[in-house]
Amino acid sequence: MITLKDMKKVFNAGKPNEFTAVRGVTVGIEDRKLTVLKGPSGSGKTTLLSIIGCMARPTAGRVFLDGRELTSLPERFLTGIRRSTFGFIFQQFNLIKGISAIENAMLPAYPTGRPRAEIRRRASELFELFNLGGKAEARIEWLSGGETQRVAIARALINAPAVLIADEPTAHLDSILSREFMDIMASLKREGMTIVMASHDPIVYESPAVDRIIEMRDGGVVGEVAS
């Protein structure tokens, strides 16, 4: 269970261009459920997702993961939690050109110190699961949009995280690929993964796989819908 308490995030505090991205958000995200943060651009979805995933620190408020407080942790502890607990899928996928698809997927596992053979075995399993077996050695820039998307998912899962965080994952996909993405999310949820997504794509928040929709506007939560 992820709990956010009185969350606030201010950018450029004290400067003329001060901007409050998240204001006073208190919300709980249940385990093994798919939760969508829904709202227009600038509503604070991405900022909130970054705070949940320990990629940004809030200005005020606390994040609890299974009762353990995360926001006060020094960076050396946060890095380990981020690496082992969360998998990230970014809007632009952020895959690295010039190296193979499987090397891209393996990258987040290198700092864990696991043997390379074990990491490669795990990446190959994920590639088989997502029908990418034949593309493992292909450079990332040679892959189609759907293949790129699945490599990004494989990379997010390489460290077997408990929570998958996806920021506008269908923003650059057509409808077919977006539905395919949601099918993969549904299967991951069935396997017990907690998924948190930020999206304003109807294909995402109208998907039957979604358990809960948290509506955001102007940095605050304006409504919740349980599917």
Binding site: K5, D6, K8, R57, P58, T59, A60, G61, R62, T71, S72, L73, P74, E75, R76, F77
Partner: protein, 332 residues
């Protein structure tokens, strides 16, 4: 005044003081406002800032450790400018601020080392268990470092080349009435017995604590005692074997080229052994803090090992010299 090491010491000490004043202001806020249960803006700001302040302070206090040796080197190097001075002992005596500065530098070396050890332990826990203690300790340490900087500045500014100073033979003779003279006049055989007993007790208890984790309290007491006994032994009889003179007790001449700069090695071993040994005792009350229960015992055992090895090194250097020189102290 324009000697490069004097400039380095002055600039370094002033920067350290500025850093300490800023850190102390932060420390006061920590002591008054720190509340880990709160998610307030102030608390989160303190958490973020303490990470930066601790890191910068660690570097600044690292300089404090080095500055002791730089100060001794400077005093030794400047002795050629003063009539009557033959080593650092004479240079430190050119005005009333030299020796107080040296004493404060040694005290602050130990203070700084203990703070660094506390900071290291605190940074290994997830919930800042020593945060108030280390900043409270910083507030105690700050006046000593400020006083050292003031004295050091006065010492360097008040150096007058026309002053005829005393050589170490006068300052560390058994006949004068100072504290060092009292140490120099200690009878050699009882002092040797005290030194080797303290060495054996420290090394054996340190080794046992490192191996089994038992006897930490005993080591915490004996390690600082060993430091004091070693300083007394160095002045009382060890130095005599290096100079092969029965009345020359100077602890500074061994820093010179004639003695292969062996003094630096001995002082690093002695001060390092003392600081790490004291660190074991300082950490003792924190073993029961939940988030430190796995960190502190391991760190203490490592510190005890380092302390024992350094003290052993000091004793070995001294003993090898005593056994290989033709000089015989007893029976003189």
């Amino acid at each position: 005044m324009l000697h490069p090491t004097v400039i380095a010491l002055m600039v370094g000490s002033f920067l350290l003081c500025v850093m300490l004043l800023i850190s102390s202001a932060h420390g006061v806020r920590i002591l008054r406002k720190w509340d880990l249960q709160s998610g307030s803006e102030l608390q989160l700001e303190l958490e973020r800032r303490t990470y930066l302040v601790s890191m910068l302070l660690a570097y600044a206090l690292g300089f404090q450790l080095v500055s002791l040796f730089l100060f001794i080197y400077t005093a030794d190097d400047l002795h050629r400018l003063f009539v009557g001075a033959m080593c650092a002992a004479g240079t430190l005596n050119v005005n009333p601020f030299g020796y107080p500065t040296l004493v404060l530098k040694v005290v602050n070396f130990l203070f700084a080392a203990v703070w660094l050890i506390m900071n290291y332990a605190d940074n290994r826990a997830h919930d800042y268990p020593l945060i108030r203690k280390k900043y409270g300790y910083l507030l105690v340490m700050m006046p000593c470092i400020l006083a050292e900087t003031v004295l050091q500045t006065l010492y360097f500014l008040d150096m007058k080349p026309n002053v005829i100073t005393s050589c170490c033979g006068t300052l560390f003779s058994e006949e004068s009435s100072s504290v060092t003279s009292g140490i120099a006049a200690l009878p050699s055989i009882p002092t040797k017995i005290a030194f080797y007993t303290a060495t054996l007790l420290t090394i054996i208890s340190g080794w046992m604590f490192w191996r089994s984790g038992k006897g930490g309290h005993f080591f915490s007491v004996v390690a600082p005692v060993m430091f004091v006994v070693s300083v007394a032994a160095l002045i009382s009889f060890i130095s005599l074997y290096f100079y092969e003179l029965p009345t020359h007790h100077c602890p500074f001449d061994i820093l010179q080229r004639e003695y292969s700069y062996i003094g630096y090695l001995m002082y690093v071993a002695l001060l390092g052994g003392g600081a790490t040994g004291i660190g074991v005792g300082v950490l003792m009350p924190f073993r029961r803090i939940e988030s430190l229960s796995s960190v502190v015992p391991r760190l203490q055992r490592l510190l005890a090992l380092i302390s024992s090895v350094l003290y052993l090194g000091f004793a070995l250097i001294s003993t090898v010299r005593m056994l290989t020189t033709n000089f015989r102290l007893e029976g003189y």
